[in-house]
Symmetry: C2
Subunit: 431 residues, 2 copies
């Protein structure tokens, strides 16, 4: 099977592997499978009629421009809409601060391309978003991980790693993926202050910020950066780059995300985007604009909140009902995920296989830990976790899925007390 191409891979690709989550997506199409694996929105909340109307209008009135090549920066009315949307947070954002990307995954790739030299260190939370690690790995990033708790990244642990001058801090303050935790207001202030003091910039990734189910909305880091308080001239000198997306509020199939940053950075990212894909689909940008405009986005988010809040509550209830007392989990105030922690010594690969056999899928937690320069999370720690998604399955499926998952977990918890494990079948029959 070898070809002259196969001998010629660039060195940067050595460590590149497929994401466990993307591979899982294939499993989850098996009939009868209940999946807590992906980060998939519920298709029931896609605003289909609004998409119908938008496609019809765009193709009737703007076919010559919406099907044509467009500017790399993005469709200007959409950039304006996003600048205004961001400005609601008190951020002095203008159209020049916004670059449209092909989903916020592309934003992560472009930022890796623009900033990361081979060997550069990125400061991340432990655990953190797997897709960011994938995007940065290919540019040769190394990592320093900072522990997090129910209030997000432990900012009191930041000073030491900041002294070694990492390239930037990557953080998901709201309903973190995978942890489901939210960075407290006090820690947000502390993080922005420390980053400023040590001269280290912040990359704020906020795909879920609008999906809050309890508690009050907290300001994004970009709104706490004092560079951003000049009313004239837009956001020109800030230390925070902010990412978001329509994937969780309209539909992921559009692949429309965005970057908010100082214009000089937007200019460089635009040059890189030219070489990467010329521009994001013009048609999808026109359609996203037609769907989101006139307050529809804000109104539609209310509906999503209602539906996902119920699903989160059903999952929390089911976990309490079915899971053994040795197991703990986070209580997310929003977003799509919660994070389950099993007792030390849990055999996660066995639980994972056992769960798949019982037609329930999740993502084992180890993928979400960066390989740190200074290893603060040993492998055992990383293998104790499961990420559960609660947005995609219907409430009765969530309940049934958690029941099956609890069976797989309990079978394994018994197993951990026995030095030599019985075969999988034997363990399963014990439940």
């Amino acid at each position: 099977m070898s070809t002259v191409w196969t001998d010629r891979f660039a060195t940067r690709t050595r460590g590149v592997t497929s994401s466990q989550i993307r591979e899982l997506l294939k499993f989850t199409q098996k009939p009868g499978m209940i999946s807590f694996g992906g980060g998939l929105p519920a298709p029931e909340v896609f605003p289909v009629q609004r998409f119908q109307d938008a496609c019809h209008k765009v193709l009737t009135e703007q076919s010559d421009t919406s099907l044509q090549y467009g500017e790399t920066e993005g469709y200007r009315p959409l950039r304006e809409l996003i600048a205004n949307y961001t400005a609601r947070e008190g951020v002095n954002a203008k159209v020049e601060n916004v670059l449209i990307t092909s989903g916020s995954q592309q934003a992560l790739d472009l930022i890796g391309k623009l900033f990361i030299n081979e060997g550069d260190c990125v400061l991340v939370e432990a655990p953190t978003y797997l897709g960011a690690l994938q995007a940065f790995n290919v540019y040769g990033a190394t990592y320093e991980s900072v522990a997090s708790d129910q209030n997000g990244m432990c900012t009191d642990l930041l000073q030491e790693p900041l002294r070694s001058n990492p390239k930037f801090i990557y953080v998901l303050p709201n309903f973190q993926n995978p942890g489901g935790t939210t960075l407290s207001e006090e820690r947000r202030h502390q993080l922005v202050l420390l980053a400023e003091r040590y001269g280290v910039p912040i990359l704020e990734d906020d795909p879920y910020g609008q999906l809050r189910y309890e508690g009050k909305h907290l300001p994004p880091l970009i709104a706490l950066d004092h560079h951003n308080l000049h009313p004239a001239g837009g956001y020109s000198i800030g230390n925070v780059i902010y990412l978001s997306t329509f994937s969780k509020t309209l539909a992921p199939g559009l692949r429309v995300g965005w970057i908010v940053a100082p214009p000089e950075i937007i200019g460089k990212l635009t040059q890189l985007k030219q070489g990467a894909d010329l521009h994001t689909s013009t048609f999808n940008q026109f359609v996203a604009y037609e769907v989101a405009r006139e307050g529809f986005l804000e109104q539609h988010v209310q509906l999503i909140r209602k539906i996902y809040r119920e699903r989160r509550d059903v999952m929390l209830q089911a976990l309490t009902q079915f899971f053994p007392p040795e197991v703990t989990w986070t209580h997310p105030h929003g977003g799509l995920f919660l994070w389950v922690t099993l007792p030390q010594g849990s055999d996660m690969p066995a639980i994972f296989n056992s769960a798949l056999e019982q037609n329930v899928a999740f993502v084992p937690g180890d993928s979400f830990f960066a390989k740190s320069n200074h290893e603060r999370n040993n492998g055992c720690e990383a293998r104790r976790h499961m990420r559960l998604n609660f947005s995609n399955a219907a409430p009765d499926q969530i309940r049934e899925g958690v029941r099956r998952l609890a069976a797989a977990v309990k079978a394994n918890l018994c197993g951990t007390l026995i030095p030599s494990e019985p075969p999988l079948e034997a363990r399963q029959s014990r439940d």
Copy 2:
């Protein structure tokens, strides 16, 4: 305007600049401008009603999957359609040989990422597609350029550069961008044989192959690779990677392109695409499939050929009528471009400015020459050319645009005889 971000650009971005063409797109929106600058299809050939029907059908019948996340490899029915489409050329392509990309620009980026180490040499035509240079530059590519004539890349000049073992050969055999030239059948065979003999793989970029206006269709390089003649098992060990796109046959605003390659290479590219943008817009892939299927693509291409052939003929006629005899140009058998060569010593920046003032735009040729390791094209040579697009403007506009352009050229040809140039205004008034 400096921020802590600005000091932190990765070294790979040092040489990155914005494409002259992308910048030109902004100029060309000026009222009254006739643009031969971009590579824009004619909006009149967008199959708008078919798009209307496709969007309506996809949103009515498949909203839950078409608006959702999808597999990185692409929408399977679309991959099958493309495999079958490729198989018409005699290529034994299967669904495993196809990766859907966000336009074929993304294909170039992913291939750069997978293969190019800092300093690696890519063998290119002189001139070659600017967007490929942009995609490869960021990964540290260097170049060796091979001259081309009216029959495409001069394959008799290939042996010496092949001996130095470049990473791969990048070539556009059909209606080349920017040259408008087509690689002859004899040279196609020679190129594939030489590449095989020296163990150097070929990247074949074919965005325009279906848009032929005269002469017989020639086999793509991928169909001449003898590794590809095994009927069982698909295209598994070939030396040619093949790229194409719907941008010129359906609509560029979709951003749907593809790569045909051995499955092992598709697998690695898929891993890189995960980190780059997760996947190409699911919605656009479903829509492209609905538009292209049941022979519509083949039928629609007939219409495009008819319209573009007329525009090419009008441009060729106008060039003959208005341009001075010292100027020559290529006679493209298809595609979107032709290539004009001015006498030595022509002042291209002056012609360009003068043309813009007369409301006609083109792309100066120097952008299309790679900076070669062994400089075979001196700067003077590169500055003698203009790329003219004939697909976007209507026939009467083409005639008027060429008339204006001829005026700008003639004004400058006079100027070249005068050692110290008069100011721009003075030169223009001479026409």
